[in-house]
């Protein structure tokens, strides 16, 4: 679904000949001197952007892509040492502006006017205490482009240009009053306000739902058509595939591959790019390892006559809002998970999937309906009756750091459930801990560390080890890989898939990411606004979606070429 964009006189100057690149970068290096020595974040990066072109700079965290973007506007940090053999942009007057060694006052003339910058998550990237209109007007005022009287009209034009309806009303509102998609578009409008030719967007759609993401991406497509140059920074290859004309893949401060989108993604010449693509989960990766090598274990389908492990029976959950009205988080939800089966629950924000997870864990009581475990009451039990059974259902969450006691070391964390079982024997506990960390591929050296000192992927493994300690039958996974890089995500998913086979863990896998769900699940449930809209096996739901919402969801997901 594309959003119509008013193409007005904001078009970039058509007199520029396409032979002269808008932005030219050669041999860019950024070094940070720290107490532990020099850190070379960017080690010699070269690329160019033509007017009307979208270049996607793709890489994992730590690859240097964000530092590159910030260095282009002189905001890499006060201690950053930026150097290049060339870093130029074509200015409004047609002359070439050298971006190296600019004085602070010269930088202020460039930022916003020659180069616009869009960050991710407009909720925190726009000043929450100022109205949208004033945020958008700020660059116009800063560069003194218009008299005060003309500002309001210009703001309206900009809002219309990014496809925000009712610009009069929206301009007077505050960022928190807009939906996520509108907010992000307002942020883009503020980056365009001083009419820069080049737009740099750093992960602009990462915090957004899939359907909203598509709308925002089409804004960038429209801008490129109008003659702007766009540098899109992203970790998501599929997003790059959808909108970019060219892709540059970054690893460890260097660009390892650079070329037209189609070519890079269908015939990648570098191993790193190939591995990156292979790590993206989806229907095509079912039954394969994402990151590991070798043959993946065969996944058995779960027969439908297996006894149910968890039954959610017509459950409804409502909350009372501060102003008195009720919010129905779940409305009449029913599902069944069988022994050894992974049920993937997919939905956008507000669909109720997190509440469903909490109900399954009996952390929230349903207002109506009940949850049964192995045919016996689960939600209806008193907490003291339920407590000894809790070890059978465990959970891992998106940010595992929040579920650890801040004083505990890794060893104590994993030991927590073991202590509960009354295992007096310390040696036996130690032995079990050693088994567990081997199962999740964690080094024993990490046992004495605190989780704050670990990486995201390591923390998630600790969380999984702790969850497995009590030998549960069901694992409730609430967005366990959403905060992780593609490669780390691939490793953790591989681990979870391995656990499906041995020790045959059943899972309630909640995620907003359709590719992850497709890769990991046996069956799928699609949720919207507190209801289950569609269920079925992966093949049934994805190849032949019945409901319009499912179809809309599937249609909005950006895909890599060569994958269905």
């Amino acid at each position: 679904m594309t959003v119509p964009i008013a193409e007005t006189s904001h078009e970039a100057d058509p007199l520029m000949s396409p032979a002269v690149p808008l932005l030219r970068v050669e041999g860019l290096r950024v070094v940070f001197p720290t107490s532990q020595g020099r850190i070379e974040a960017v080690r010699g990066v070269s690329f160019a952007i033509e007017p009307g072109e979208i270049l996607a700079l793709v890489g994992q965290s730590g690859s240097g892509k964000s530092v590159t973007a910030r260095a282009l506007v002189g905001l890499a940090g006060p201690r950053a040492q930026v150097d290049a053999s060339a870093m130029t942009i074509v200015g409004h007057d047609g002359g070439v502006v050298d971006l190296l060694r600019l004085a602070p006052s010269a930088w202020r003339a460039v930022r916003g006017r020659e180069i616009g910058f869009v960050l991710q998550d407009a909720q925190v990237s726009l000043d929450p205490l100022r109205t949208v209109g004033r945020e958008i007007a700020e660059p116009i005022l800063a560069h003194r482009l218009l008299p005060k009287t003309g500002i309001a009209a210009e703001v309206k034009l900009l809002l219309a240009r990014v496809g925000i309806p009712d610009p009069d009303i929206r301009a007077a509102q505050y960022p928190h009053e807009l939906s996520g998609g509108l907010r992000q578009r307002a942020l883009i409008a503020s980056a365009l306000a001083a009419r820069p030719r080049l737009l740099i967007a750093d992960e602009p759609t990462t915090a957004l739902d899939v359907t909203v993401q598509q709308q925002v991406l089409s804004v960038f497509e429209g801008l490129a058509r109008a003659g702007h140059g766009v540098l899109l920074i992203t970790h998501d290859l599929a997003v790059a595939a959808q909108v970019a004309d060219r892709i540059a893949v970054m690893q460890d401060g260097l660009i390892v591959e650079n070329g037209p989108t189609r070519r890079v993604l269908t015939m990648p010449s570098q191993v790193y790019t190939q591995r990156l693509m292979a790590a993206v989960p989806g229907a095509a990766t079912r039954g394969h390892w994402l990151a590991a090598t070798g043959a993946a274990p065969a996944r058995e389908t779960v027969a439908s006559d297996q006894p149910p492990l968890l039954e959610v029976d017509d459950v409804s959950v409502s909350f009372r809002r501060p102003n008195g009205s009720t919010l129905d988080a779940l409305a009449g939800v029913s599902l069944v998970i069988r022994l050894g089966e992974t049920l993937g629950v997919v939905g956008e924000s507000g669909s109720g999937k997190t509440t469903l997870g909490k109900v399954a864990l009996a952390l929230r009581q349903p207002n109506r309906g009940e949850v049964r475990f192995e045919g016996q009451p689960w939600s209806g039990l008193s907490e003291s009756a339920r407590r000894p059974l809790r070890r059978r259902i465990q959970t891992i969450v998106q940010d595992p750091l929040g579920s650890f006691d801040p004083r505990y070391t890794v060893e104590r964390i994993i030991e927590q459930p073991l202590c509960l079982r009354g295992d007096r024997d310390r040696a036996a506990r130690r032995h079990r801990i050693a088994e567990l960390i081997e199962l999740v591929s964690l080094s024993p050296k990490l046992l004495a560390r605190r989780p704050e000192a670990l990486s995201g992927g390591q923390r998630q493994r600790v969380s999984i080890a702790q969850a497995l300690a009590s030998e549960p039958d069901l694992l409730v996974c609430d967005e366990p890989v959403s905060s992780l890089d593609v490669m780390t995500q691939a490793q953790v998913l591989d681990l979870l898939v391995a656990l499906q086979v041995r020790p045959r863990l059943a899972m309630l896998f909640i995620s907003h990411d359709l590719g992850v769900i497709q890769h990991v699940s046996h069956r799928i449930a699609v949720m919207e606004a507190g209801r289950i809209v569609e269920t079925g096996t992966v093949a049934e739901v994805f190849d032949d979606p019945q409901r319009p919402y499912t179809r809309r969801l599937l249609g909005a997901v950006p895909r890599l070429p060569g994958r269905c």
């Binding site: 916003g112 006017r113 800063a142 980056a191």
Partner: protein, 320 residues
């Protein structure tokens, strides 16, 4: 724009109503606490109320007993007392032989002068300090922060004494005691403002730095806005939010500081009459002072809460 101001006024009024209940609750609490305190004082109740043994003759004794219901059961006394208190009738101060209300009102004027001057000065110092040093070089920040800590830990009376000794006794720049005119206000105001400025600076600076490290600050920089404009136009508002959580502490500091400063500099005001009232056990006056201070506290906290609502639009949504 006008529609939204009207809207805002509407929301404020609707919001204020339940808070009136809080005011009443606090006043009731204050009255009860003081009632309990008076009843705990050992000795003859009439002597306590009149400021000493045998101060009043038989006729006045009878009047007092009748007025305060001292021959009635405790419950009735409490009820009478509450009634009087909430009507603003605290009786007569036996020291000054005047209604308590007028004693307090008269003493409040110089204290208000002092407090306002001190707050103004403290705000100017703190804002300038925070704006100049937020996110700055570590060396400067360390020195200033150490200075602020010293000011916070130093007794207000010490600062007062130092200023008095230096500028009044030795240099004769300012009069030693007195209530008249700007000259006698200057030193006490400075003494009172310094610890306030120290506390405000710390909070403002922390709030400012917190704001400047947020993603929206980066967005503002990418627009080509200068650092100064970023701090003033965006940062200060966020920092102000941080300060409003400190209102209680600041008010307590002002009141306590006023008492101490007025003592050192020999100024008349609430501080003086409070001390005298306690020394001479002038209970009606003590009761009146406690109630007044509770009222002031609560009202100012409400005003600050309302300001919070104006500054932070995100809070308004929940009320809608």
């Amino acid at each position: 724009m006008r529609a939204s101001t009207h809207n805002l006024a509407h929301k404020l009024v609707r919001w204020a109503f339940p808070h009136l209940g809080v005011i009443l609750a606090v006043l009731w609490g204050a009255a009860t606490v003081t009632f309990v305190a008076v009843k705990l004082i050992p000795g003859d109740p009439v002597s306590i109320l009149s400021g000493g043994e045998n101060v009043v003759d038989q006729a006045e004794r009878a009047v007092l007993i009748q007025q305060y219901g001292l021959d009635q059961p405790l419950g009735v006394q409490y009820g009478r007392y509450l009634g009087h208190a909430l009507a603003g009738n605290f009786g007569k101060s036996y020291q000054y032989r005047q209604p308590v209300i007028s004693v307090i009102a008269e003493a409040a004027v110089p204290t208000l002068q002092l407090a306002s001057a001190a707050i103004l000065l403290a705000l100017c110092l703190a804002v300038a300090n925070a704006l100049a040093t937020a996110g700055g070089r570590r060396g400067l920040r360390t020195v200033l922060s150490g200075f602020e800590l010293a000011l916070l830990s130093t007794p207000v009376y010490w600062i007062s004494i130092v200023l008095l000794t230096l500028f009044s006794f030795r240099l004769h720049w300012f009069p030693v005691t007195g209530n008249d005119g700007f000259a006698s206000l200057a030193l006490p105001a400075i003494a009172l403002s310094l610890p306030l400025a120290a506390l405000l600076s710390q909070v403002l600076r922390d709030g400012l730095e917190e704001a400047l490290s947020q993603p929206f600050a980066l967005t503002v920089r990418t627009r080509g806005v200068s650092e100064i404009a970023l701090r003033v136009r965006h940062g200060l508002r966020h920092a102000a939010l941080a300060v409003s959580t400190l209102t209680g502490t600041l008010l307590a500091g002002i009141l306590g500081g006023s008492i101490l400063t007025e003592t050192v500099f020999g100024r008349s005001g609430i501080g003086q009459i409070t001390l005298q009232a306690i020394k001479t056990r002038d209970m009606p006056l003590v009761l009146g002072l406690v109630m007044m201070s509770a009222l002031v506290f609560v009202v100012i906290n409400l005003v600050v809460d309302a300001l919070y609502l104006i500054i932070d639009p995100r809070l308004r949504r929940a009320k809608a």
